[in-house]
């Protein structure tokens, strides 16, 4: 590993599509080869099997030939500089990109060995299985109770009021919000603090018993205490859910995830055990990013 005497600074130029030299005279380990990811991108017990995924916004290729497995009950963190494609890639996993007209997704994306992009696929059912939490808390302008009960109602998960009550309570408990919310279930959700709103959104996402929770920078608008609570929650949820989290906080990725995936300009550069990524990453670009040498 004789790459330590080199540096990476500034924007990476991309003269051609395939081999991307990062800087002149740099050793081979620093070159991104399209479709090649160093480390351990594949898993034995795959929840998601993603192969040769490409995403286009009009003519522009935002995701370049990425193959990755997400293991069952794994927490995997996507990191990388802004515009590297990590959120775009995340949104492919429950077809959130469908709402963008110019967006096209190519390649094979399978959830439990079923094609996610099968035209006959019921997207509503897919999103019930693959829930999502966004960067900004986005509670409905309804009561706390109705926010959590919304999903179970439309999916017909509860026949009786008592069942619904139970789902709401369990979801709020799992999200660590029950003690704060139990006495004000009828209060409007928008009156809660940012951290509470975000945990409410998590409660809403897990109320429909999803198998996977996608999180797109769930803590970037939260204070350290609310962040710690959400992270605590992620650790608990990982016992029964698969979690994919996009984060700009390297320390957060290091704390909560089992594996970390580093994205760079639409490429998936490295996927490895989180412990390895943050102590001795294999790829020079990963190292440069996590040590704050460019971004």
């Amino acid at each position: 590993m004789n790459t330590l005497n080199t540096t990476v600074t500034g924007e990476v130029q991309m003269p051609e599509e395939n081999a991307v030299p990062v800087q002149e005279g740099r050793p081979a380990e620093t070159v991104i080869e399209e479709g090649k990811t160093v480390g351990r991108p594949f898993a034995d017990d795959a929840k998601f099997k993603l192969r040769n995924v490409e995403v286009f916004y009009g003519q522009e290729r935002a995701i370049k030939n990425i193959s990755l497995d997400v293991a069952r009950n794994e927490v995997i963190a996507f990191i990388g500089p802004s515009g590297c494609g990590k959120s775009t890639f995340l949104r492919c996993l429950n077809r959130m990109n469908d709402s963008i007209d110019i967006c096209r997704v190519k390649g094979s994306l399978r959830l439990d060995d079923q094609d996610i992009y099968d035209p006959k696929r019921d997207v509503v059912e897919l999103r019930a299985r693959v829930g999502m939490v966004f960067q900004k808390p986005n509670p409905f302008p309804k009561s706390i109770y109705d926010n959590v009960a919304y999903g179970p109602r439309i999916h017909g998960l509860a026949n009786r009021k008592a069942d619904l009550d139970e789902i709401v309570e369990n979801s709020l408990r799992k999200a660590g919000l029950w003690n704060e919310a139990k006495d004000r279930l009828d209060a409007t959700a928008t009156g809660m603090s940012g951290g509470q709103q975000q945990r409410l959104c998590i409660a809403r996402a897990i109320a429909v018993s999803p198998e996977v929770v996608l999180m797109d920078e769930p803590c970037s608008a939260l204070d350290p205490i609310a962040t710690a609570k959400v992270e605590e929650l992620i650790a608990e949820l990982s016992e029964s859910y698969t979690i994919v989290i996009v984060t700009h906080s390297m320390q957060q990725a290091a704390r909560v995830s089992h594996r970390t995936a580093y994205f760079h300009l639409g490429h998936l550069v490295e996927v490895n055990e989180t412990n390895k990524v943050f102590t001795s990453p294999e790829h020079e670009l990963t190292e440069s990013y996590i040590t704050g040498r460019f971004g």
């Binding site: 590993m1 540096t7 320390q251 001795s280 990963t286 996590i290 704050g292 040498r293 971004g295």
Partner: protein, 240 residues
């Protein structure tokens, strides 16, 4: 100490972070240089019977201890402020560990200085000083090489230093046997020979600490922990 590889820690977006890591590295090398000269002087003081120099060494050890504390504080602050990762993290963690080794080397030098005073006061014909000089030179070279490997981030140099440790151990065993012969020849030699034995023991420990530093340098550069592993394993890590 400018060198070509300093840019490894000097190319962060935050210039302040660069400065902090550089300062840590420089301080460590300064302490290394000081400890190195303490060992050299302790051997001279012993062989020349120079009690004045020996007193100076004992006084200087306080400065070494102070440097250890300063470097530890600096490293702790970097951890708190920057949450370093990858090679930066390995640098900070290694420095924290290596600084303890340097401090122990300083203690060994102090021990030798004390024995130098004791031996000089007894004032008999020297026994085992050839061995002291020989092993002394050897471990001083190891220490210098280990610090050099740190300064240049040279894992191959560090590996060579790690390999030397075995030879120092052998030399120590041989010297101990020689001293044992002196003691058996004439029981009046025992007290004196035991003192020299302690000096040799201290020098052998210096070699061990130099070896620890070398192993930490390999970890810093290669990202693999080669402590408590055979030299052959370390060779594979460095040779990758």
């Amino acid at each position: 100490m400018p060198n070509q590889k300093d840019d490894v820690y000097g190319d962060h977006i935050s210039h302040k972070f660069n400065d902090e890591l550089m300062a840590l590295k420089t301080q460590f090398l300064k302490m290394g240089g000081m400890v190195e000269s303490q060992v050299g002087q302790a051997i001279e003081a012993l062989i020349d019977g120079d009690t004045h120099m020996a007193d100076e060494i004992r006084a200087n050890d306080k400065k070494v201890d102070k440097m250890e504390m300063d470097i530890d504080e600096e490293a702790t602050l970097i951890l708190a402020r920057r949450q370093p990762t990858a090679r930066d993290l390995r640098l900070v963690v290694s420095v924290i560990k290596m600084v303890a080794d340097l401090e122990r080397v300083g203690d060994e030098a102090k021990k030798i200085a004390k024995l130098a005073i004791k031996l000089s006061e007894e004032g008999q014909a020297p026994r085992g000083y050839i061995e002291v000089r020989h092993i002394g030179n050897h471990v001083q070279n190891m220490l210098r090489d280990a610090l050099d490997a740190f300064a240049r981030l040279d894992s191959e140099q560090a590996l060579r230093t790690k390999k030397e440790d075995r030879r120092v151990d052998e030399e120590y065993q041989a010297a101990a046997r020689t001293l044992l012969t002196f003691m058996m020849e004439d029981t009046r030699n025992i007290s004196r020979c035991m003192s020299v034995m302690w000096v040799l023991r201290a020098l052998e420990r210096v070699g061990d600490h130099a070896c620890n530093i070398a192993e930490n340098v390999i970890f810093m550069v290669e990202g693999e922990d080669v402590r408590h592993t055979p030299v052959e394993e370390a060779e594979k890590v460095v040779g990758r």
